[in-house]
């Protein structure tokens, strides 16, 4: 890690009508920070503010110690003068220019002559394995090719900061994996900080060194992918990483859940308000109440839905507490599980992950999954 100020340091406040984005974001050189959040959470607004396309209504942004935007002093470096590369969700390749001239655009407008700019562009295209496409028009490119060209165009301007807005969302599933692997390589080569906006948790887990979760214009969680995947701070994050999440009050070895019900939990040092995460596959389903068992948590619930997820069936259960539970298709057949059926759920205390609210603004809702 480099000293403070070397990377991106942003205190962003942007107001748009009734919506306010207020987020504190830092990214070190060489670090890929994924900004994850539902639609309308302010992810794109954040990128737009860092790029200088949206002025701040409060806060400041600095990159490598240089102030780009400061609402208090009125400093505002125009987008054209920020050393920022932006890959847009819809790529925005100029339709009237060839692939080569698209990539040459930034070196050209930043002062190089036509021939040297094209040379720089050709080098980037070669590096990205796109040399064959140089003469094509953007309209003649596939989605994956257009994405690569957009990345090349952003990098050709030699930016100090890279911004990627949902770079893979416009691709079909098969292309996405290829481009994702390639993107990961290029991001590893990039020396500056990188902000990657996405709503795909897998993309974030694969590509990012650190995650930042935005909801309703606020940062609700920040941490490494492993931390976030294990201890989601909100229901939105829990759903993304596929966990049941409950809020409750810890009282010794017992957590009383806000939404009804309680859990016996392993030893922990948390007191008061806590979160409990539970993997859907760690819950056991039985048709009768288990009589003798080492399992500490047993409760009745009603099946409200069944969904087949390739190799397993996800049950939607209502009870105290409600839960998502994964079972094998064989178990569904053997136990004769169906919607409306009453079953017993059990979960070992050791399967419960208990932790305090990492962030004061963290919890949004109640205990419904």
């Amino acid at each position: 890690m480099t000293g403070p100020g070397a990377g991106l340091v942003a205190e962003v406040e942007v107001t748009r009508g009734a919506f306010t984005l207020r987020a504190s974001v830092t990214a070190d050189p060489g670090e890929v920070l994924a900004v994850l959040g539902p639609n309308g959470s302010g992810k794109s607004t954040l990128l737009s503010a860092v790029a200088g396309l949206t002025p701040l209504s409060g806060g400041r942004i600095s990159l490598g110690g240089v102030t780009l935007d400061d609402a208090e002093t009125g400093t505002f470096v125009e987008a054209a003068h920020r050393p920022v590369g932006f890959v847009f969700q819809d790529y925005r390749l100029f339709p009237h220019l060839s692939v080569l001239d698209n990539v040459a655009f930034s070196p050209r407008v930043r002062g190089l002559g036509r021939a040297p700019a094209r040379e720089v562009a050709a080098q980037w295209l070669a590096r990205l394995g796109l040399a064959d496409l140089a003469r094509r028009r953007p309209a003649d490119l596939s989605g994956g090719q257009a994405q690569r060209v957009a990345l090349g165009r952003a990098l050709a301007g030699d930016p100090a900061l890279l911004l990627l807005d949902e770079p893979l969302s416009a691709l079909d599933a098969r292309t996405r994996l290829d481009v994702q692997a390639e993107l990961k390589r290029h991001l590893a080569d990039f020396a500056g900080p990188c902000l990657l906006v996405t709503h795909d948790p897998l993309e974030a887990l694969v590509l990012a060194d650190r995650l930042l979760v935005l909801e309703h214009g606020r940062v609700v969680q920040e941490g490494t992918p492993a931390e976030v995947a294990r201890r989601p701070a909100t229901e939105y994050v829990a759903r993304l990483v596929g966990l049941n999440l409950y809020a409750g009050r810890a009282d010794g070895a017992r957590v009383v859940l806000d939404g009804g019900g309680s859990f016996v939990v392993p030893d922990h040092h948390e007191r008061g308000e806590v979160l409990v995460a539970l993997r859907p596959s760690a819950v056991v389903v039985s048709t009768a109440e288990p009589v003798v068992s080492s399992v500490r948590n047993t409760w009745p619930a009603t099946i409200t839905g069944l969904t087949l997820l390739t190799d397993r069936v996800r049950l939607d259960l209502e009870g105290e507490p409600s839960a998502l539970v994964d079972v094998t298709p064989a178990a569904v057949a053997e136990l004769g599980l169906d919607a409306g059926q009453r079953v017993w759920l059990s979960a070992k205390a050791t399967e419960l992950e208990v932790y305090g609210h990492g962030h004061p603004a963290g919890l949004v809702g109640g205990t419904e999954r």
Binding site: A51, G52, L53, E78, A79, A80, H81, R82, V84, G85, F86, F88, D90, R92, F94, P95, H96, L97, F105, S106, V109, R110, R137, A139, R153, A154, G157
Partner: protein, 249 residues
């Protein structure tokens, strides 16, 4: 019905045309001079419209200033105004006794009315709105995202305009310019009011047709056919342009 109504008179032109003496008649009248005058004045009028009309279209499409709606209304006014009224207005403004013309005359000895410059002014007055309206519409519907993208790549505003915005609205720019040119070529009312009808100086093709109709109907028919031919060429050029634009993208 409607098609017949539009086509039959044009067919009549073709049938009544004195094809045999065409060459002599056209040479005998001042057709050549009128055509030359018409061509260069409408081209100059189009050039002026491009130079001042495109920035105006950009202002109307991309900025917000008090009175914007009023300016847009004023710009489109010549589209609905009878051209002869435009001619009278120009005369009142730039005529020898007009409120601007008198100063031009006193201070610089410049008299505009009844000169080729007056023809150009009359044509510009009537035709420029076609260009402004077409280009403004194109700018308005153009995707601003490309301009943002250009800005993040380091392009300043002027560069964004010349390298990204203009090329992207190019088809509409061409269409607007051709419409503008065709309108200028056909201009009659404002021109005859403001510039008069001096053969070789201010007598454009449409005016020549009008006068020839009284003295030499055959010449009028032939001159009309020349204008019809020019219109057809314009249509074909536009269509080609659009077709090529459609397939290239």
């Amino acid at each position: 019905m409607a098609v017949a109504f539009l086509v039959i008179p044009l067919a009549g032109l073709l049938i009544r045309a004195p094809w045999g003496d065409a060459w002599e008649i056209l040479h005998g009248s001042q057709a050549g001079e009128a055509l030359k005058l018409s061509l260069w004045t409408s081209t100059v009028a189009t050039a002026i419209s491009l130079v001042v009309g495109v920035p105006l279209a950009w202002l109307l499409a991309r900025t917000a200033f008090p009175g914007l709606r009023l300016v847009r209304a004023l710009v489109t006014l010549p589209l609905v105004l009878p051209p002869v009224v435009g001619g009278v207005a120009l005369l009142l403004a730039f005529g020898r006794n007009g409120f601007l013309g008198q100063f031009l005359d006193q201070w610089f000895g410049i008299t505009i009315p009844f000169s080729p410059a007056a023809v150009v002014m009359a044509e510009t007055f009537v035709a420029m709105p076609f260009l402004v309206v077409t280009v403004e519409g194109a700018l308005r519907s153009a995707d601003r995202g490309f301009e943002d993208a250009a800005a993040t790549l380091g392009a300043r505003r002027m560069t964004v305009f010349t390298r990204v915005t203009l090329p992207m609205v190019a088809p509409s720019l061409v269409a607007g310019a051709v419409l503008c040119w065709a309108r200028a070529l056909g201009e009659f009312g404002a021109t005859i009011t403001f510039a008069g009808s001096f053969p070789g100086r201010t007598q454009t093709m449409p005016i020549a047709v009008y006068y020839a109709l009284e003295t030499d109907p055959d010449a009028a028919i032939l001159l009309s056919l020349v204008l019809l031919l020019v219109s057809v060429v314009v249509l074909v050029t536009l269509r080609d342009r659009w077709l090529r634009g459609g397939t290239a993208q």
